[in-house]
């Protein structure tokens, strides 16, 4: 099956029906392994046991940006190639991305209180992630406000691409400005600075949350295709009645 075959929503539904049970099972197993490794990880010499919040916070922070990246690619698919599933993919990803961003903010806040002495600080990293969260909510509101999916798709795609400017700002905010947030310790030039006792559980959790996103995204895309099918059929039914 080639990528062009997936442009057909019916073929896509058939593929997701086969893939989803396997993906869900694999995600659950990997999450359990990651949670076990997180529980067994040693305390940090400075942060103590609060370092365990990192195993939840960091994967969600990575995914908050990754999901917007996926939506930006989908926005290009909508505007440039007019791929029939591009808007479906973007619309289905937005609530999941918003949930990951909320978790990144909330767990970061819960980690910040014991380590920094405050739940919140208006510094560059925290503020730019809060803006990302608000942009997710704005996009979801836009899709809900415009009834015609094709009109909503174009407006949402433009807004998504404009919002993508925030991604490098989030990533490099800790280098460009003086922030309370620590600089990158995994995705950095020169390799990770984390000890393997922390790095391995972190990578397992990141992989588990990434698989969770793929699973939920495919399921949400399936729902969106069915919703559009329902809408088209209801319109067909209405026109048959009025004829």
């Amino acid at each position: 099956m080639t990528l062009i075959d997936l442009a057909n929503p019916t073929r896509f539904l058939s593929l997701t029906a086969r893939l989803l049970p396997w993906l869900a099972a694999f995600t659950a197993v990997l999450l359990l392994i990651g949670l076990y490794q997180s529980a067994m990880a040693p305390d940090d010499y400075q942060q103590g046991a609060t370092v365990k919040i990192m195993f939840i916070h960091v994967p969600n922070a990575w995914l908050s940006m990754f999901v917007w990246g996926v939506m930006s690619l989908a926005a290009l698919g909508t505007l440039v190639w007019r791929h029939p599933l591009a808007d479906v993919a973007a619309k289905a990803a937005a609530p999941i991305g918003a949930a990951f961003t909320f978790l990144a903010l909330a767990t970061g806040s819960l980690w910040g209180r014991p380590m920094w002495g405050t739940y919140w600080e208006w510094d560059a990293r925290l503020t730019s992630v809060l803006i990302l969260f608000l942009m997710y909510l704005g996009l979801i509101a836009l899709w809900r406000a415009v009834e015609d999916p094709s009109r909503a798709a174009r407006a949402a795609a433009i807004l998504t691409l404009v919002g993508a400017i925030n991604l490098p700002i989030i990533k490099f905010s800790v280098d460009w400005w003086n922030t309370l947030h620590q600089p990158a310790s995994v995705m950095r030039m020169g390799g990770p600075t984390l000890d393997s006792a922390f790095l391995i559980p972190l990578l397992v959790m990141a992989l588990a949350f990434s698989l969770l996103f793929v699973t939920l995204h495919l399921a949400a895309m399936r729902n969106e295709i069915l919703r559009r099918r329902v809408r088209a059929l209801q319109m067909m039914q209405a026109s048959q009645r009025s004829a």
Partner: protein, 59 residues
Amino acid sequence: MSLGPYASFILTSYALATVVVLILVAWIAIDYRRQKQRLHALDASGVIRRSGRSVADSR
């Protein structure tokens, strides 16, 4: 395994993540069921897709 003096912050983080993920899973599952019910209702009312397939056939 001792979580030290900040155990409440650690446990709240994990509990919050669990609740949010469960809400996402439940929302997607309920939405799927709702769309399938609507398709079945349309099928029962006699609407036919342009492909000629049953409207409830989601393949």
